[in-house]
């Protein structure tokens, strides 16, 4: 299968915006190990990353870190 028709949808696939059918088609194609699409999907992850970070950073409660680390130490 050619990949040209997938060019527009890698990001939408990662964002979860595609229809089930579209997502299934791309997932099956990726599962076949298409190197072109693997490169494109990596690039799409970059785009999703930058889009996601349009949200402003915020400071979590300092206790969150303490409790995260303490939880492991208790094990």
């Amino acid at each position: 299968m050619g990949c040209q028709h997938l060019e527009e949808i890698y990001e939408l696939f990662l964002l979860g915006a595609l229809s089930e059918q579209g997502a299934l088609e791309l997932r099956e194609h990726l599962a076949r190990g298409c190197p072109h699409c693997l490169e494109r999907i990596r690039e799409a992850v970059e785009t999703v990353y930058l889009l996601s970070l349009t949200s402003k950073p915020a400071r979590p409660n300092p206790q969150a870190k303490t409790q995260l680390l303490n939880g492991f130490q208790k094990k």
Partner: protein, 244 residues
Amino acid sequence: MSEALSAEDLLARVGQQDLAALGELYDRYAFRVFGLMMHILSSRDEAEEILVQAFQRLWSESSPLSEEGGSVAAWLVVTARQAALDRLRIVRKGKLRPDARAETAGTEEGIETSSRNTKVFTSAPPAPKSVPKTAGPRTGAGKSGPGGRAKFAAMAGVPPAWLPRPGEIELIDDRLGLLHKVINQLPMSQRQALELAIFAGLSETEIAAELGEPLGKTRTGLRAAVTFVKHRRRAILGKWAANI
């Protein structure tokens, strides 16, 4: 710990059960991940719960991630976003089962009190080197059988092989402000559609309904928006000389 260590160096140490390295990664990335969680969930308790789960999962999955050599920052952002959206969908649909909450929050109280009563930190996180029960979204990830780890990863975030190289993400981080200006150049309707996809996790069909648009218009607009951002990104990062 030395600032000279890259996130990927720290991840390798996390793979050796180095808690200080996990703490260092938390210090580097918690603000941006938490900001994203807040944007999606609008609840500090819920956002902190998902934030911590993301780092618990990073601890559990550090070895395969480290072996693949992908960007830690990208993994954290994409995985946490997916987990937050899955939580949001559950809350939205009113299907937050008491037992599901109990797994996550150590409480059997239901959805009405969940955002005020998130006690995830009071229950011990999963043991290192095991996939935590609570880390993944509840989208069928737990149904994975033999060979289910890849499925788990694909559904809850991205498989390690899909992650961009750390250098690519560093380039983006260096020019994030400029890249975000690109998004503001989008027509309002396209930007709205894109934001609904990014922060509300809506599908094309749901976005069309939300915006009161024909599906075809939404679909075309979303593709145009993503293509615009992608092309601008390539140009800004010097990967594509085309004048767009």
